[in-house]
């Protein structure tokens, strides 16, 4: 058998960025704008939105109607929907992960330029001032080394650049930003808002990474409701369309696609000197030399890469003298209820597509309440309206009504558009039982050791999910509705979401001022390896009840500016 030779490049790249999601995309955009040459490594293929996105297609335009040619959707094997952006799966063939006995955890990974930003919910919420100081607030968890004032200018820049809708509300739990005009509320959202008014719960226009007026050469949203399929006009934010593809036009960005990072190679001084990756097309190992590296592979992949980079001097994994890499893993608490609203029965039909997501949402309202039943809080996402029917839309109706024939048909028609879904997204406090580590027994198809997950909700999260249930019941009943049941019985049957399924996993390479209890400093630079930065959600110290993407973008922006300045000064 021939011995494969590692192909080493002679060229020394100024900055190698690993991963092209919100973090990597932002670093590429900011550095290219500042005149820095960047090489981006992406584990998946390049993206061609015009070819890869299925926006505006009708289900009947394909024989399988979106169920997949092998009926995947009916067997839970089609992980993310045929029409949605081609972006990843809970399970990737040949790239397993394992879970410790007793752990239920699902890890959504994306392998394509832009990663999960091609499909994500576009919900864009700033963390609040108190979110950065959780320990100071309630004695749980750890404070961030930075505060809201440090990140606020970068939230401004990020929002102005990518475009985020919203309104100035002056609510402490939902800091105002640089907003595009919101979209008008849909009928069911007006009813939710009225119920919330009665219950003294805030309900405000949603903050979505969608442009409602032309911005930076992108045209405004055309309200087709299909953000999840990927937007051919780039009217919503994806790092692929909004940051990386435009940045490539500067000539300062090189993208190496289908390149799965294996290890960071260090030199005798302990600095990263090269990135080793697997060229997927040939299954050969290649190395590119670099002056600096930015790891932005997604929180758990970034932790995995560091843990798998083990020169003699870093027995614990690279940049991991503290031992925190892989620890402090969290996901958002998820719980959803569906309600039937009689006031919507027979509603005159109209186009309610709008954004691919809510136009109104409920920010957390008990942030200053003393003696809460559980720590931290949650926000509520609102679903409903006349959505485009698709495979599965009426499985619930079929199961509830049973029977057949004209009577069943009448009942299904009566169900269309009368359901409102309320989904809570809450903060999990990091705990010692929840982390990821290298599984010494298992490697993936490239020979790279895989992650093993340990995950456990604490009583705090269970109490929080129960509070969600009670609140949602109250809102539905105040609207004159009745609770139908769980919105996601397959993932939330236990009264709380299965860990990982909200896809807000983070915290695994956390930042801090003390090198003994953190891997990265306040600029997301490794304490122990000065030319190593992390720019995804791995550096997060806590997981506030706000979807992480906007903060990934803002933090990555700050990191990229710092990196450029340090390069200019000759410090890295």
């Amino acid at each position: 058998m021939a011995v494969m030779q590692t192909v080493r490049s002679a060229k020394v790249h100024d900055v190698v960025v690993i991963g092209s999601g919100a973090g990597g995309g932002t670093v590429v955009q900011v550095l290219a704008k500042l005149g820095v040459n960047v090489t981006l490594i992406e584990a998946g293929p390049m993206l061609n939105p015009a070819k890869d996105f299925k926006e505006h297609m009708w289900p009947w335009q394909v024989g399988h109607r979106g169920a997949g040619e092998h009926a995947e959707q009916y067997f839970d094997r089609q992980q993310w929907g045929y029409f949605n952006a081609p972006n990843g799966y809970w399970d990737i063939e040949g790239e397993p992960y394992t879970t410790a006995p007793g752990t239920e955890f699902r890890w959504f990974r994306s392998r394509i330029l832009g990663g999960r930003t091609n499909h994500y919910g576009r919900i864009s919420l700033r963390f609040s001032d108190y979110d950065f100081k959780p320990y100071s607030s309630d004695g749980l968890g750890t404070d961030w080394p930075i505060g809201y004032e440090d990140l606020a200018p970068y939230y401004d820049k990020a929002e102005a650049f990518i475009g985020v809708t919203g309104t100035k509300e002056g609510i402490q739990s939902a800091p105002d930003g640089v907003f595009q005009p919101p979209a008008a509320p849909r009928v069911h959202e007006i009813l939710v808002k009225k119920a919330c008014d009665k219950l003294r719960i805030p309900c405000i226009p949603s903050r979505m990474a969608i442009i409602t007026k032309p911005t930076n050469g992108r045209v405004a949203c055309h309200y087709c409701g299909q953000c999840g399929r990927g937007c051919v006009t780039a009217s919503n934010y994806s790092s692929s369309q909004v940051q990386i593809l435009p940045a490539m036009k500067t000539g300062r960005v090189e993208v190496i696609a289908n390149a799965m990072a294996r290890e960071l190679i260090t030199d005798s001084r302990g600095k990263v000197s090269a990135v080793s990756y697997i060229d997927k097309a040939t299954r050969t190992e290649k190395q590119i030399r670099c002056r600096t590296v930015v790891v932005a592979a997604s929180a758990c992949e970034s932790a995995r890469l560091l843990l798998n980079s083990k020169p003699a001097r870093h027995g614990n994994g690279l940049a991991n003298g503290s031992g925190v890499v892989g620890k402090y893993l969290t996901d958002s608490v998820g719980f959803g209820l569906s309600g039937r609203i009689p006031a919507l029965e027979g509603l005159p039909r109209h186009d309610s597509d709008g954004f691919g997501g809510m136009h109104m949402y409920i920010p957390w309202w008990e942030f200053d309440k003393k003696n809460k039943a559980f720590p931290r809080g949650y926000h509520v996402e609102i679903g409903g309206g006349f959505r485009m029917p698709q495979v599965g839309s009426f499985h619930g109706s079929c199961r509830r009504h049973e029977g057949y024939g004209a009577a069943l048909k009448t009942k299904i028609k009566g169900d269309y558009g009368v359901t409102v879904n309320l989904a809570g997204r809450g903060e999990m406090v990091p705990n010692a039982h929840t982390y990821c580590e290298i599984d010494p027994q298992v490697v993936d198809r490239f020979g790279i050791p895989v992650l093993r997950f340990h995950y456990r909700w604490s009583q705090s999260e269970m109490d929080q999910a129960r509070h969600m249930r009670e609140t949602f019941q109250e809102i539905i009943q105040t609207m004159g509705g009745t609770v139908l049941g769980l919105a996601n019985p397959e993932r939330e049957g236990g009264g709380i979401s299965v860990g990982g399924t909200i896809i807000h996993e983070l915290g695994t390479v956390r930042m801090g001022d003390d090198p003994k209890s953190s891997a990265l400093n306040r600029y997301c630079q490794a304490h122990e390896v000065k030319n190593l930065f992390v720019a995804d959600a791995a550096p997060f110290v806590s997981n506030p009840e706000k979807n992480p993407t906007l903060t990934i973008t803002a933090l990555a922006w700050r990191t990229a500016e710092y990196l450029a300045e340090e390069m200019r000064k000759g410090n890295v």
């Binding site: 939105p49 015009a50 996105f53 505006h56 297609m57 009708w58 289900p59 009947w60 335009q61 394909v62 024989g63 399988h64 109607r65 979106g66 169920a67 040619e69 092998h70 009926a71 009916y74 067997f75 008008a184 009928v187 069911h188 007006i190 050469g217 045209v219 055309h222 087709c224 409701g225 051919v232 006009t233 780039a234 009217s235 006031a343 919507l344 029965e345 509603l347 005159p348 039909r349 109209h350 186009d351 309610s352 597509d353 006349f386 029917p389 698709q390 495979v391 839309s393 009426f394 499985h395 049973e402 057949y404 024939g405 069943l408 048909k409 028609k413 269309y416 105040t478 609207m479 004159g480």
Partner: protein
Amino acid sequence: MSEVSRRDVLRNIALSATLGGLSADAAQHVHHAAAEEKKASGVYKPKAFNGHEYRTVGALSEMIIPGAKAAGAAEFIDLLASGNPEFLAIFTGGIAWMDRRVTPNFVDAGKAEQTALLDQIAYRKNDSPELGAGIRFFEWARKMAADAYYTSKAGMEELGYKGNVGMTEFKIPQEAIDWAVKRSPFGG
């Protein structure tokens, strides 16, 4: 990045645009959708079911959701069965189960006999060792018929889905808002 204008896209959605008015990327997108549509039309030959099974799937779907047969239920179910042996077995097994309970078989039986059988297996409350397998199969047949119909043009028209056309400004008709608010607890 593609220089697709919003107006182009609105035309693109309706698939009524002349391709000359679109940018290269948008035109490609239209081509893509049109090609898929072509693939889905034309005379369909069953790939998985035999003639009897195929006829049964069509008739059963039609009994479950009137209009499902014309909406392509048999083609849809056959296509999926051709790509998934587990799914195929659910249908061939279920059809054989039904055929043994009516004479000469389900699809050729009289209307009254067909209805009598469906009235048993269409409800979980009738679950028993004798009917269990039939009830389980009927849940599959029901959701497949519903999916076939409501993802078709006819099904969407019946529901009154008005979207997938795009808008220049998002607006909800005032009459719809008034209609719901009046019927809600906030109507007073």
